[in-house]
Subunit: 171 residues, 2 copies
Protein backbone atom coordinates (compact mmCIF):
# COMPACT_ATOMS: atom_id res chain seq x y z
CA UNK A 1 0.00 0.00 0.00
CA UNK A 2 1.57 3.26 -1.13
CA UNK A 3 0.04 6.71 -1.00
CA UNK A 4 1.98 9.57 -2.54
CA UNK A 5 0.92 13.22 -2.83
CA UNK A 6 2.07 15.12 -5.92
CA UNK A 7 1.92 18.90 -5.67
CA UNK A 8 2.10 20.74 -9.00
CA UNK A 9 3.40 24.20 -9.85
CA UNK A 10 5.00 25.28 -6.56
CA UNK A 11 6.11 28.92 -6.47
CA UNK A 12 8.61 29.78 -3.76
CA UNK A 13 7.40 33.25 -2.93
CA UNK A 14 3.66 32.69 -3.02
CA UNK A 15 3.22 29.02 -2.08
CA UNK A 16 5.91 28.27 0.46
CA UNK A 17 3.64 27.85 3.45
CA UNK A 18 0.75 26.32 1.51
CA UNK A 19 3.00 23.66 0.01
CA UNK A 20 4.71 22.94 3.31
CA UNK A 21 1.29 22.55 4.97
CA UNK A 22 0.31 20.13 2.17
CA UNK A 23 3.45 18.11 2.83
CA UNK A 24 2.96 18.05 6.61
CA UNK A 25 -0.69 17.06 6.22
CA UNK A 26 0.37 14.28 3.85
CA UNK A 27 2.72 12.95 6.50
CA UNK A 28 0.41 13.35 9.50
CA UNK A 29 -2.58 11.83 7.69
CA UNK A 30 -0.78 8.71 6.58
CA UNK A 31 0.73 9.28 3.13
CA UNK A 32 4.16 7.76 2.48
CA UNK A 33 5.68 10.61 0.56
CA UNK A 34 5.37 13.99 -1.09
CA UNK A 35 6.65 15.00 -4.51
CA UNK A 36 6.43 18.57 -5.78
CA UNK A 37 7.07 20.26 -9.08
CA UNK A 38 7.35 23.91 -10.12
CA UNK A 39 10.16 25.87 -8.46
CA UNK A 40 12.66 23.89 -6.42
CA UNK A 41 12.49 25.18 -2.84
CA UNK A 42 15.23 23.98 -0.55
CA UNK A 43 13.95 25.95 2.43
CA UNK A 44 10.50 24.39 2.22
CA UNK A 45 11.93 20.90 1.69
CA UNK A 46 14.30 21.22 4.61
CA UNK A 47 11.59 22.40 6.98
CA UNK A 48 9.39 19.40 6.12
CA UNK A 49 12.30 16.97 6.33
CA UNK A 50 13.22 18.38 9.72
CA UNK A 51 9.71 17.72 11.02
CA UNK A 52 9.82 14.19 9.60
CA UNK A 53 13.18 13.52 11.25
CA UNK A 54 12.12 14.85 14.63
CA UNK A 55 8.59 13.48 14.74
CA UNK A 56 9.34 10.07 13.23
CA UNK A 57 8.07 7.84 10.49
CA UNK A 58 9.46 7.16 7.03
CA UNK A 59 7.96 10.06 5.13
CA UNK A 60 9.91 11.10 2.02
CA UNK A 61 9.99 14.46 0.21
CA UNK A 62 11.19 14.84 -3.37
CA UNK A 63 11.33 17.43 -6.11
CA UNK A 64 10.62 16.61 -9.75
CA UNK A 65 10.28 18.35 -13.08
CA UNK A 66 8.84 15.20 -14.63
CA UNK A 67 5.44 15.21 -13.03
CA UNK A 68 3.81 14.02 -16.25
CA UNK A 69 5.85 10.83 -16.13
CA UNK A 70 4.95 10.30 -12.50
CA UNK A 71 1.24 10.44 -13.33
CA UNK A 72 1.63 8.33 -16.47
CA UNK A 73 3.74 5.62 -14.86
CA UNK A 74 1.85 5.33 -11.57
CA UNK A 75 0.84 1.76 -10.73
CA UNK A 76 -2.50 2.28 -9.05
CA UNK A 77 -5.16 4.96 -9.12
CA UNK A 78 -4.44 8.64 -9.79
CA UNK A 79 -6.72 11.19 -8.16
CA UNK A 80 -6.77 14.92 -8.81
CA UNK A 81 -8.27 17.25 -6.22
CA UNK A 82 -10.26 20.06 -7.82
CA UNK A 83 -13.26 22.18 -6.93
CA UNK A 84 -14.83 21.05 -10.23
CA UNK A 85 -14.59 17.29 -9.68
CA UNK A 86 -16.99 14.63 -8.47
CA UNK A 87 -18.03 14.74 -4.80
CA UNK A 88 -15.60 12.91 -2.52
CA UNK A 89 -18.46 11.10 -0.79
CA UNK A 90 -19.57 9.57 -4.10
CA UNK A 91 -16.10 8.13 -4.74
CA UNK A 92 -14.97 7.03 -1.29
CA UNK A 93 -15.80 3.36 -1.84
CA UNK A 94 -13.93 3.32 -5.15
CA UNK A 95 -10.93 5.00 -3.53
CA UNK A 96 -10.80 2.51 -0.68
CA UNK A 97 -10.67 -0.40 -3.12
CA UNK A 98 -7.33 0.88 -4.41
CA UNK A 99 -4.06 0.04 -2.68
CA UNK A 100 -1.77 2.51 -4.40
CA UNK A 101 -2.95 6.08 -4.61
CA UNK A 102 -1.31 9.07 -6.28
CA UNK A 103 -3.08 12.22 -5.09
CA UNK A 104 -2.50 15.26 -7.28
CA UNK A 105 -2.83 18.71 -5.75
CA UNK A 106 -2.85 21.51 -8.28
CA UNK A 107 -1.19 24.90 -8.22
CA UNK A 108 -2.47 28.18 -9.67
CA UNK A 109 -3.02 26.91 -13.23
CA UNK A 110 -3.58 23.20 -13.70
CA UNK A 111 -3.07 22.10 -17.34
CA UNK A 112 -6.25 20.59 -18.87
CA UNK A 113 -4.36 17.36 -19.54
CA UNK A 114 -4.27 16.68 -15.78
CA UNK A 115 -8.08 16.55 -15.70
CA UNK A 116 -8.00 14.19 -18.67
CA UNK A 117 -5.15 11.90 -17.71
CA UNK A 118 -6.08 11.03 -14.12
CA UNK A 119 -8.46 8.25 -13.05
CA UNK A 120 -10.57 10.49 -10.83
CA UNK A 121 -11.20 14.21 -10.46
CA UNK A 122 -12.51 14.67 -6.96
CA UNK A 123 -13.93 17.64 -5.13
CA UNK A 124 -14.44 18.26 -1.45
CA UNK A 125 -17.71 20.27 -1.20
CA UNK A 126 -17.51 21.80 -4.73
CA UNK A 127 -16.91 25.14 -2.99
CA UNK A 128 -13.68 27.13 -3.27
CA UNK A 129 -11.59 26.69 -0.14
CA UNK A 130 -8.16 25.12 0.33
CA UNK A 131 -6.09 22.34 -1.21
CA UNK A 132 -4.78 21.65 2.29
CA UNK A 133 -8.26 20.98 3.66
CA UNK A 134 -9.23 18.97 0.58
CA UNK A 135 -6.14 16.83 0.96
CA UNK A 136 -6.78 16.16 4.65
CA UNK A 137 -10.37 15.14 3.91
CA UNK A 138 -9.41 12.83 1.07
CA UNK A 139 -6.78 11.10 3.21
CA UNK A 140 -9.23 10.87 6.10
CA UNK A 141 -11.90 9.23 3.96
CA UNK A 142 -9.39 6.93 2.31
CA UNK A 143 -7.89 5.74 5.60
CA UNK A 144 -11.31 5.86 7.28
CA UNK A 145 -10.11 7.53 10.47
CA UNK A 146 -7.29 5.02 11.03
CA UNK A 147 -4.82 7.84 10.31
CA UNK A 148 -5.51 9.03 13.86
CA UNK A 149 -3.92 5.87 15.20
CA UNK A 150 -0.86 5.99 12.98
CA UNK A 151 2.45 5.61 14.81
CA UNK A 152 5.71 7.25 13.80
CA UNK A 153 8.65 4.95 14.55
CA UNK A 154 11.94 6.57 15.42
CA UNK A 155 10.37 9.81 16.66
CA UNK A 156 12.59 12.07 18.76
CA UNK A 157 9.65 14.29 19.76
CA UNK A 158 6.16 13.30 20.84
CA UNK A 159 3.26 15.51 21.93
CA UNK A 160 1.46 14.05 24.91
CA UNK A 161 -2.24 14.99 24.77
CA UNK A 162 -3.19 17.47 27.50
CA UNK A 163 -6.47 19.01 28.61
CA UNK A 164 -4.52 22.25 29.28
CA UNK A 165 -1.06 23.37 28.28
CA UNK A 166 1.71 21.77 26.28
CA UNK A 167 3.70 18.64 26.90
CA UNK A 168 6.31 17.36 24.48
CA UNK A 169 8.64 14.53 25.43
CA UNK A 170 12.02 13.76 23.94
CA UNK A 171 12.49 10.09 23.18
CA UNK B 1 -26.91 26.81 16.20
CA UNK B 2 -23.94 29.09 15.63
CA UNK B 3 -20.40 28.13 14.74
CA UNK B 4 -17.77 30.85 14.56
CA UNK B 5 -14.07 30.50 13.86
CA UNK B 6 -11.72 32.90 15.64
CA UNK B 7 -8.23 33.19 14.14
CA UNK B 8 -5.63 34.79 16.43
CA UNK B 9 -2.52 36.80 15.60
CA UNK B 10 -2.83 37.28 11.84
CA UNK B 11 0.25 38.78 10.17
CA UNK B 12 -0.34 40.27 6.74
CA UNK B 13 2.94 39.34 5.13
CA UNK B 14 3.36 35.83 6.46
CA UNK B 15 -0.18 34.58 7.02
CA UNK B 16 -2.28 36.09 4.25
CA UNK B 17 -2.95 32.88 2.36
CA UNK B 18 -3.10 30.66 5.44
CA UNK B 19 -5.69 32.90 7.08
CA UNK B 20 -7.73 33.23 3.91
CA UNK B 21 -7.72 29.43 3.52
CA UNK B 22 -8.91 29.15 7.13
CA UNK B 23 -11.75 31.56 6.36
CA UNK B 24 -12.76 29.77 3.15
CA UNK B 25 -12.67 26.39 4.88
CA UNK B 26 -14.83 27.80 7.66
CA UNK B 27 -17.39 28.88 5.08
CA UNK B 28 -17.30 25.73 2.92
CA UNK B 29 -17.46 23.39 5.91
CA UNK B 30 -20.50 25.02 7.49
CA UNK B 31 -19.35 27.70 9.94
CA UNK B 32 -21.43 30.89 10.11
CA UNK B 33 -18.61 33.36 10.37
CA UNK B 34 -14.93 34.11 10.76
CA UNK B 35 -13.34 36.63 13.10
CA UNK B 36 -9.63 37.37 13.06
CA UNK B 37 -7.26 39.36 15.25
CA UNK B 38 -3.67 40.51 14.82
CA UNK B 39 -3.03 42.80 11.86
CA UNK B 40 -6.05 44.12 10.02
CA UNK B 41 -5.82 42.92 6.43
CA UNK B 42 -8.28 44.49 4.02
CA UNK B 43 -6.98 42.54 1.02
CA UNK B 44 -7.49 39.18 2.73
CA UNK B 45 -10.94 40.20 4.02
CA UNK B 46 -12.05 41.43 0.62
CA UNK B 47 -10.96 38.25 -1.14
CA UNK B 48 -12.95 36.10 1.29
CA UNK B 49 -15.98 38.38 1.12
CA UNK B 50 -15.87 38.24 -2.66
CA UNK B 51 -15.98 34.44 -2.60
CA UNK B 52 -18.88 34.54 -0.13
CA UNK B 53 -20.78 37.01 -2.32
CA UNK B 54 -20.27 35.02 -5.50
CA UNK B 55 -20.69 31.52 -4.13
CA UNK B 56 -23.61 32.28 -1.81
CA UNK B 57 -24.59 31.74 1.80
CA UNK B 58 -24.55 34.13 4.72
CA UNK B 59 -20.97 33.79 5.83
CA UNK B 60 -19.60 36.84 7.71
CA UNK B 61 -16.02 38.02 8.14
CA UNK B 62 -14.95 40.43 10.87
CA UNK B 63 -11.79 41.88 12.38
CA UNK B 64 -11.35 42.37 16.11
CA UNK B 65 -8.72 43.47 18.57
CA UNK B 66 -10.83 42.24 21.47
CA UNK B 67 -10.43 38.51 21.00
CA UNK B 68 -10.22 37.95 24.75
CA UNK B 69 -13.72 39.35 25.17
CA UNK B 70 -15.01 37.16 22.38
CA UNK B 71 -13.73 34.04 24.12
CA UNK B 72 -14.89 35.21 27.56
CA UNK B 73 -18.38 36.22 26.45
CA UNK B 74 -19.11 33.28 24.14
CA UNK B 75 -22.42 31.56 24.93
CA UNK B 76 -21.57 27.95 24.21
CA UNK B 77 -18.43 25.89 24.08
CA UNK B 78 -15.00 27.29 23.20
CA UNK B 79 -12.54 24.97 21.49
CA UNK B 80 -8.89 25.67 20.80
CA UNK B 81 -7.10 23.71 18.07
CA UNK B 82 -3.55 22.83 19.07
CA UNK B 83 -1.10 20.03 18.40
CA UNK B 84 -0.83 19.58 22.19
CA UNK B 85 -4.53 19.08 22.93
CA UNK B 86 -6.75 16.04 23.47
CA UNK B 87 -7.43 13.82 20.43
CA UNK B 88 -10.36 15.02 18.36
CA UNK B 89 -11.84 11.52 18.24
CA UNK B 90 -12.03 11.42 22.07
CA UNK B 91 -14.04 14.66 22.15
CA UNK B 92 -16.31 14.37 19.13
CA UNK B 93 -19.35 13.29 21.14
CA UNK B 94 -18.91 16.16 23.57
CA UNK B 95 -18.55 18.62 20.70
CA UNK B 96 -21.69 17.40 18.99
CA UNK B 97 -23.74 17.95 22.13
CA UNK B 98 -23.02 21.67 21.89
CA UNK B 99 -25.09 23.99 19.71
CA UNK B 100 -22.86 27.04 19.74
CA UNK B 101 -19.22 26.53 19.03
CA UNK B 102 -16.37 29.03 19.02
CA UNK B 103 -13.35 27.43 17.35
CA UNK B 104 -10.06 29.15 18.08
CA UNK B 105 -7.21 28.80 15.61
CA UNK B 106 -3.90 30.06 16.91
CA UNK B 107 -1.19 32.06 15.18
CA UNK B 108 2.57 31.85 15.72
CA UNK B 109 2.54 32.40 19.48
CA UNK B 110 -0.62 31.51 21.37
CA UNK B 111 -0.74 33.09 24.84
CA UNK B 112 -0.92 30.46 27.64
CA UNK B 113 -4.18 32.00 28.82
CA UNK B 114 -5.90 30.67 25.68
CA UNK B 115 -5.11 27.09 26.74
CA UNK B 116 -6.46 27.87 30.19
CA UNK B 117 -9.57 29.85 29.34
CA UNK B 118 -11.17 27.62 26.68
CA UNK B 119 -13.44 24.66 27.37
CA UNK B 120 -11.48 22.24 25.21
CA UNK B 121 -7.99 22.05 23.76
CA UNK B 122 -8.23 19.68 20.83
CA UNK B 123 -5.64 18.14 18.56
CA UNK B 124 -6.00 16.48 15.21
CA UNK B 125 -3.40 13.64 15.21
CA UNK B 126 -1.02 15.27 17.77
CA UNK B 127 1.42 15.69 14.89
CA UNK B 128 2.56 19.06 13.54
CA UNK B 129 0.75 19.85 10.27
CA UNK B 130 -1.69 22.64 9.45
CA UNK B 131 -4.33 24.70 11.18
CA UNK B 132 -6.28 24.60 7.93
CA UNK B 133 -6.44 20.80 7.93
CA UNK B 134 -7.18 20.70 11.66
CA UNK B 135 -10.05 23.14 11.19
CA UNK B 136 -11.56 21.17 8.32
CA UNK B 137 -11.40 17.94 10.34
CA UNK B 138 -12.98 19.51 13.42
CA UNK B 139 -15.84 20.95 11.36
CA UNK B 140 -16.27 17.65 9.55
CA UNK B 141 -16.52 15.68 12.78
CA UNK B 142 -18.80 18.26 14.37
CA UNK B 143 -21.20 18.35 11.41
CA UNK B 144 -20.71 14.61 10.84
CA UNK B 145 -20.37 14.85 7.07
CA UNK B 146 -23.56 16.93 6.65
CA UNK B 147 -21.36 19.85 5.59
CA UNK B 148 -21.07 18.13 2.21
CA UNK B 149 -24.79 18.69 1.66
CA UNK B 150 -24.80 22.33 2.73
CA UNK B 151 -26.48 24.71 0.30
CA UNK B 152 -25.48 28.31 -0.30
CA UNK B 153 -28.56 30.45 -1.02
CA UNK B 154 -28.10 33.43 -3.28
CA UNK B 155 -25.07 32.00 -5.08
CA UNK B 156 -24.12 33.62 -8.36
CA UNK B 157 -21.62 30.87 -9.21
CA UNK B 158 -21.98 27.13 -8.84
CA UNK B 159 -19.53 24.36 -9.75
CA UNK B 160 -21.28 21.45 -11.41
CA UNK B 161 -19.44 18.20 -10.55
CA UNK B 162 -17.69 16.70 -13.58
CA UNK B 163 -15.77 13.49 -14.18
CA UNK B 164 -13.43 15.51 -16.46
CA UNK B 165 -12.96 19.24 -16.94
CA UNK B 166 -14.56 22.29 -15.37
CA UNK B 167 -18.13 23.48 -15.40
CA UNK B 168 -19.26 26.56 -13.53
CA UNK B 169 -22.75 27.98 -14.06
CA UNK B 170 -23.87 31.55 -13.43
CA UNK B 171 -27.18 31.72 -11.61
Amino acid sequence: MTVIVLRLGHRIFRDQRITSHCALVSRAFGADGFIYSGEKDKGMEDSVKKVARQWGGKFKVKYTQKWKNIIREWKGRTVHLTVYGMPLESKTKELRSEKNLLIIVGGEKVPPEVYKSVDLNISVTNQPHSEIAALSMLLDRYFDGTEFRKTFPGAKLKAVPQERGKKVIRL
